[in-house]
Amino acid sequence: MISVHHYLLLSAILFSIGTLGVLTRRNAIVIFMCIEVMLNSVNLTFIALSKHVGNMDGQVFVFFVMTVAAAEAAVGLALMIAFFKNKESIDVDDFNMLKW
């Protein structure tokens, strides 16, 4: 029997992978994908707990999160294209102009 614990464990693993990816990868698109993984792991948590508790609120939240993720993808990709036009690169280590 697959209990809510398994879902939560999977969600935690996915979240950690996402976080690790954000922290270690340099390619902006990969980082972006890692963020999506993190968001979806959270979505999974919402769904699992919603089912477990028997309350629809969590599912509603998931829709919001997905909407935000879609919007974020649109803005983020646009930013990256703009950046690539200037720097010929999407390595985040080249995104370092905002500093002392």
Partner: protein, 654 residues
């Protein structure tokens, strides 16, 4: 019945505001000057109406309140005006002489860049002066008192591009502040003293009514009156605060005539007159006033003997004549003091305006010849009587008046003062001697001025000497009117001994009578004594004139011989007894040193040090912390994750 009293200061205020705000746009000198003069004339008409109404009235003290100023507990202070014989005389002098001087200024100030500014200040001055004399309580009076001080400052500094004018203005203001400090101390002490007896008031009528609550000759009333006297010393240029007045001659000549001769400087005398009941209660103060007055009269006259600047002679003469007024106040001759105030306003205004007319002519001639000689130096004048006949005659008449020659106004008032200083029970024969000698010196230096300016050979530079014109009508008309007043002004106060009834004294009796009667102040003496004293003082004046004639007409080489023989004494009085230098040494320089110390030592090191130190520490912290802004995305991401982990960890495990 007297409800239009407020119009008297209101008219000049309107003129001042209009000229001050719009004068720059109006530009037309006739409109600006005409408006200012018209406003003064309107308030003169209202003053006349009230004056004559008061003459026919049996009640002599009227208060008109136009609004409440402040109300604190039992204390009620109004915007109130007081009309009694004393303030009636004062408003007549201020508005009358003021109108003439405004008219004169139109001609004298012609072509000046700040023409509108001048008339705006002059109107504002008239407003403040009228508030001063009409206020029914000490606070309204104080507004006027400060207002005239401000206008005096502005007008002395009228030629502000000249450093000497700016310095003179500052000096006048600062010295006046010392006096104002005394005035305020006196006012607060009086307020507290009467308040502790249950009467909280600053109203003059109530002060007069309740003065008996204080102990006659007591410490309190003496302190109060001495403080007020210090205030009067500042405003009326008495020893030790007289030094600003001669410097105030840096202002335009009409200003010297209006503010520094006829009106503002008499404010101190007026104030003592207003508080006569308190002064009468303090014999010590009265004695101080008399001694200071006599000393000033004498001392300023000695300086006047040796000055060569025509306006400076008149300035010292003003200080000296103010000394006479204080002498009068000090010996209880209140009405004689006010009488001399009035006659002095006539003849001294005329003298100043006459000197202005001379300077105007000299300036015109030098300008014509492109010379830069000093138009005020009498050594460049001489023989002007043929060039400026009207100026000469009015000047001569006023000089005779100030010298105390019988039948002219100055004789009646000065003689009254001298008689009281001898015969009054608050007087002393020494005071009389000082006064009489000063009168002789007055006659000498005034005739010296006339002889040097109008008689003898013309010493003006040859290129300029034929271009000195008589002044225009706007200048000569005020001269003629004031000259006439200088002759006949004294006839309203002919003393009883000369067959008159001294109507002036009777007129002021409702104000001064009570104090004189209550404290038994009167001048006693045989008629023979009075005649003798009168004869002696006239003789002294004539001797003064004769000496001046001998030295400056008959033997023009005599003055040089005298100055050579008494070189030390001459240098002493020529340099004004080095009083300015003494004050610089005693007060001005120490103050400057303290100021420099507070600037360099305290302000720069301590205050700036603290402020800069705080900024320096903040800057250091910022310089250290800015390295956290690396610009690398991963650093920020790590910081964020660590932060989240710590916070979540705190809530989960903490």
């Amino acid at each position: 019945m007297y409800s239009n009293l407020w119009l008297i200061p209101f008219f000049p205020l309107v003129g001042s505001i209009i000229n001050g705000l719009l004068g720059k746009k109006i530009k037309n000198e006739k409109v600006i000057g005409g408006l200012a003069t018209l406003m003064m004339f309107c308030s003169f008409l209202v003053a006349c109406q009230n004056f004559f109404r008061l003459m026919g009235d049996s009640v002599k003290t009227h208060q008109v309140v136009i609004g409440s100023w402040m109300s604190v507990g039992n204390l009620q202070i109004d915007w109130g005006f007081l009309l009694d014989p004393l303030s009636a005389v004062m408003i007549m002098i201020v508005t009358g002489v003021g109108t003439l001087i405004h008219l004169y200024s139109i001609g004298y100030m012609h072509g000046e860049v700040g023409f509108y500014r001048f008339f705006s200040y002059l109107n504002l001055f008239a407003c403040a002066m009228l508030m001063l004399v009409l206020g029914n309580n000490a606070l309204v009076m104080f507004i006027g008192w400060e207002g005239v001080g401000l206008c005096s400052y502005l007008l002395i500094g009228y030629y502000f591009e000249k450093k000497s004018a700016g310095d003179a203005a500052k000096k006048a203001f600062v010295v006046n502040r010392v006096g104002d400090f005394g005035f305020l101390c006196g006012l607060f002490t009086l307020f507290w003293a009467l308040g502790s007896k249950g009467v909280w008031t600053v109203n003059f009528v109530e002060i007069t009514e309740n003065a008996h609550l204080l102990q006659t000759g007591g410490l309190l009333v003496t302190v109060v009156t001495l403080c007020f006297f210090l205030g009067a010393c500042g405003k009326s240029a008495q020893i030790p605060l007289y030094t600003w007045l001669p410097d105030a001659m840096e202002g335009p000549t009409p200003v010297s005539a209006l503010i520094h001769a006829a009106t503002m400087v008499t404010a101190g005398v007026y104030m003592i007159g207003r508080m006569n009941i308190l002064f009468a209660m303090a014999p010590t103060t009265m004695m101080t006033v008399a001694i200071v007055g006599a000393a000033t009269a004498f001392f300023a006259a000695t300086i006047g003997l040796a000055q060569n600047d025509i306006k400076r002679v008149l300035a010292y003469s003003t200080v000296s004549q103010l000394g006479y007024m204080f002498l009068a106040m000090g010996v209880g001759a209140f009405s004689a003091g006010i009488f001399h105030l009035m006659t002095h306003a006539f003849f001294k205004a005329c003298l100043f305006l006459g000197s202005g007319s001379v300077i105007h002519g000299m300036h015109h001639a030098y300008h014509h010849a492109h010379l830069h000689d000093d138009p005020q130096d009498m050594r460049n004048m001489g023989g002007l009587r043929k060039k400026m006949p009207i100026t000469f005659i009015t000047f001569l008449v006023s000089t005779i008046a100030i010298s105390g020659i019988p039948l002219f106004s100055g004789f009646f008032s000065k003689d009254e003062i001298l008689w009281w200083s001898f015969g009054s029970n608050r007087g002393h024969w020494l005071l009389w001697i000082i006064g009489a000698v000063a009168a002789g010196m007055t006659a000498f230096y005034m005739f010296r001025l006339v002889f040097m300016t109008f008689f003898g050979e013309q010493k003006t530079d040859a290129r300029a000497k034929d271009h000195i014109p008589e002044s225009p009508l706007t200048i000569t008309i005020p001269l003629m009117i004031l000259g006439l007043l200088a002759v006949i002004g004294g006839y309203i106060g002919i003393p009883a001994i000369l067959g008159g009834s001294n109507r002036f004294e009777h007129w002021l009796e409702p104000v001064f009578g009570e104090a004189l009667e209550m404290h038994h102040i009167a001048a006693h003496g045989a008629h023979a004594t009075e005649y003798a004293l009168m004869g002696i003082s006239v003789a002294i004046a004539i001797i003064g004139i004769f000496v001046a004639w001998t030295m400056y007409i008959k033997n023009p080489e005599l003055p040089a011989k005298f100055t050579a023989k008494f070189a030390g004494a001459y240098r002493l009085i020529f340099n004004k007894w080095f009083i300015d230098e003494l004050y610089d040494f005693l007060f001005v320089n120490p103050c400057k040193r303290i100021g420099t110390f507070l600037w360099r030592g305290f302000d720069v090191k301590v205050v700036d040090g603290v402020v800069n130190g705080v900024a320096w520490v903040t800057k250091g912290i910022g310089a250290g912390l800015r390295y956290t802004q690396s610009g690398y995305l991963h650093n920020y991401a790590v910081a964020m994750v660590v932060g989240v982990v710590v916070i979540v960890g705190y809530y989960v495990f903490g």
